[in-house]
Amino acid sequence: MGQFIITIGREYGSGGHRIATILAEKFGVPMYDRNMLDQLAEKNGIASEELHKHEEMKRRGLTRTVRGFSSSVQDSIAQLQFDFIREKAESGESFVVVGRCSDDVLRNYPGMISVFICGREEEKTRRICDLYKLNKIEAKAKMLRHDKNRKAYHNYYSSMKWGDSRGYDICINSSLLGVDETAEALYVLLKNKIEQ
């Protein structure tokens, strides 16, 4: 089996992160999500919260660009994560990566398979209510806020639109089979593709 990289884009509450975790476990490869910033924070001896609070966000506020250098912290953190993902891909390692525009950043790597997980609003809301002990109104507000940010972030740094089926190899609705069953189905599908 050669190098393979599975990128998972996801709607908030769709269980995309859980699916990525299951896939990484089943394939026996590392999974990169916000933990990539933990590694960088440890290397630099700074609190990882400093990095996390700016990640997966498009640039905001008053910013300025000079000769390709941007004063935006969000731009810097995004670039930091893109470089991290690229380095991992360059090293020949197989891995699963959640979000971070990885579908776009790694588009030219032949071993990459991009997946987008969406879900029905009702199921996503229920899942968020269970996970974070919120009522439905709070859960929906949280979901809308996160999806709005993810969409803005992805569309700002990528050439393809967030959630647009033309930008992904596989798009799947996790509400159809449930999160764990979707992960299982994806595993079978991806395993066949990787072993080809």
Binding site: L37, L40, A41, K43, N44, G45, I46, E50, L51, H54, G61, L62, T63, R64, T65, V66, R67, F69, S70, S71, V73, D75, S76, I77, Q79, L80, D83
Partner: protein, 449 residues
């Protein structure tokens, strides 16, 4: 009236687009320059002469553009070709120095002399930043200093963020000390006919006083955040060195830099204009680079030079239509002709404006304003010029977007995993900027009034 309204509209629109930062700045100024040419000079004024005067290409072929005897420096109305040509020459020289590894070598050498002790590195890099920025553009200074600071921080386990912020501040401060340190100074110097020595004696003296005060302030306010005592690394265990891969290239670049400094320091005596010095230094660098010449020329930041051309045309529109005279009259009216109030307005308005908008268009706009003020109120033009230079150069330190060095420093740190947010930046550098502005105001009042 139509031409004045158009000139103001295009100018404001240009600023909005620059601050918006969505499109490359040089596109914005060039398009606005073209609009000024069509709507202000063409449709509004119906004056080819005004356009010709603003483009000012005729001045470039005059011998006085390249050689001005005595203390009369070059002057061009509209597009300030002297600034553009000089900046181009210095960019070529800096590319040559970077290629030769000059900056890496210098930074590591200084760190070594500081015995790899974080507090000493902190102070020495502030001084180094200020000195280098006197002769080299602050973007290059910070680009190298910030990168070396991060390397040192990882090896010596100290926090590079306070160091980088102090370096940014000192680069802006050092830039205010000389005519070639910061683009607003080059524009002021070439437009109003001041020499390198004029700047050193005036803004340089203010910068020196401010530098001493700010080093003491930063040292006491930041030293405890530099390093946890338990992280201290034994300097003898540090193995950091920069090997010069091509000694001939290195020596040549250093000599050319030395020649540039000598020519700049003596240009009032020799009569060589900054445009001449720029072209001469670029020719030396290109000649010495041999087969690498094309590579160096390609790396020059032509976007910035195009940005300047468009900008000068837009400001020329304001100048030709008399809008800037109205602004000058307004300042004179508000200050009631009082020189103290007038200088305070110029200093603080320049500083606050430069904290949020590019200080280059701001200073280019203000030069005709202060010239007009000097003519109508009798306040010495040079005093206003030094005040404008200090205000625009120092004010830029106040926010992350105020000056190019800030952006490059923040970006370099962020890309290495040391994010500097607006909050962090302003908490550290706003007090420092206010202190230096207050010190500068006192210096200006005591010395010139």
């Amino acid at each position: 009236m139509f031409s004045s309204i158009m000139a103001i509209t295009i100018f404001v629109g240009m600023f909005v687009f620059i601050v918006w930062d969505k499109y490359p700045k040089h596109y914005v100024t060039l398009i606005c320059g073209a609009l000024t040419s069509i709507f202000v000079f063409g449709i509004g004024m119906r004056s080819f002469h005004a356009f010709e005067e603003t483009i000012a290409l005729g001045g470039v072929v005059k011998p006085s553009f390249w050689y001005a005897a005595g203390e009369h420096a070059e002057q061009t109305a509209g597009v300030n070709w002297a600034t553009i040509i000089f900046l181009w020459g210095m960019m070529v020289m800096v590319e040559g120095m970077s290629e030769a590894g000059f900056f890496d070598w210098l930074c590591i050498k200084i760190a070594k002399i500081a015995n790899f002790e974080p507090k000493r590195i902190f102070v020495s890099f502030m001084v180094l930043s200020a000195i280098l920025a006197m002769f080299i553009d602050s973007i290059t200074v910070i680009l190298f200093l910030a990168a070396v600071t991060i390397r040192l921080a990882r090896t010596l386990k100290f926090n590079p963020i306070p160091v980088i912020m102090a370096e940014i501040f000192c680069a802006n401060l050092g830039g205010s000390a000389t005519m070639c340190g910061d683009p607003p100074n080059i524009i002021i110097g070439t437009s109003l006919g001041y020499s390198f020595a004029d700047f050193v004696v005036n803004t340089g003296a203010i910068a020196l006083v401010s530098l001493v005060i700010i080093i003491v302030y930063f040292y006491f306010s930041m030293r405890n955040r530099l390093q946890d005592p338990s992280d201290k690394v034994d300097p003898s265990s540090v193995n950091m060195d920069v090997t010069i891969s091509n000694m001939k290239e290195f020596i040549t670049a250093t000599v050319i830099f030395g020649i540039a400094v000598v020519l700049l320091v003596t240009h009032a005596m020799t009569g060589l204009t900054v445009a001449f010095i720029g072209v001469f230094i670029a020719a030396l660098t290109i000649g010495a680079a041999g087969s690498k010449a094309i590579k160096l020329l390609k790396r020059v930041d032509y976007h910035t030079l195009l940005f300047f051309i468009g900008l000068f045309v837009v400001v020329g529109g304001l100048e030709q239509t008399g809008v800037l005279v109205v602004i000058a009259e307004f300042i004179a009216k508000v200050s009631g002709g009082n020189a103290y109030v007038m200088l305070a307005i110029i200093l603080w308005v320049s500083a606050v404006a430069s904290a949020f908008i590019d200080n280059i268009p701001f200073s280019a706009t203000m030069i005709p304003v202060i010239s007009s003020l000097a003519a109508t109120t009798g306040v010495d033009l040079s005093t206003m010029a030094w005040t404008l230079a200090v205000g625009t150069d120092i004010g830029g330190s106040m926010t992350p977007i105020g000056a190019s060095a800030n952006v490059v420093g923040i970006s370099t740190a962020g890309k290495e995993g040391y994010p500097i947010s607006w909050g962090t930046y302003c908490k550290e550098l706003v007090p420092g900027t206010l202190i230096v502005l207050a010190v500068s105001m006192v210096c200006i009042f005591v010395r010139y009034l």
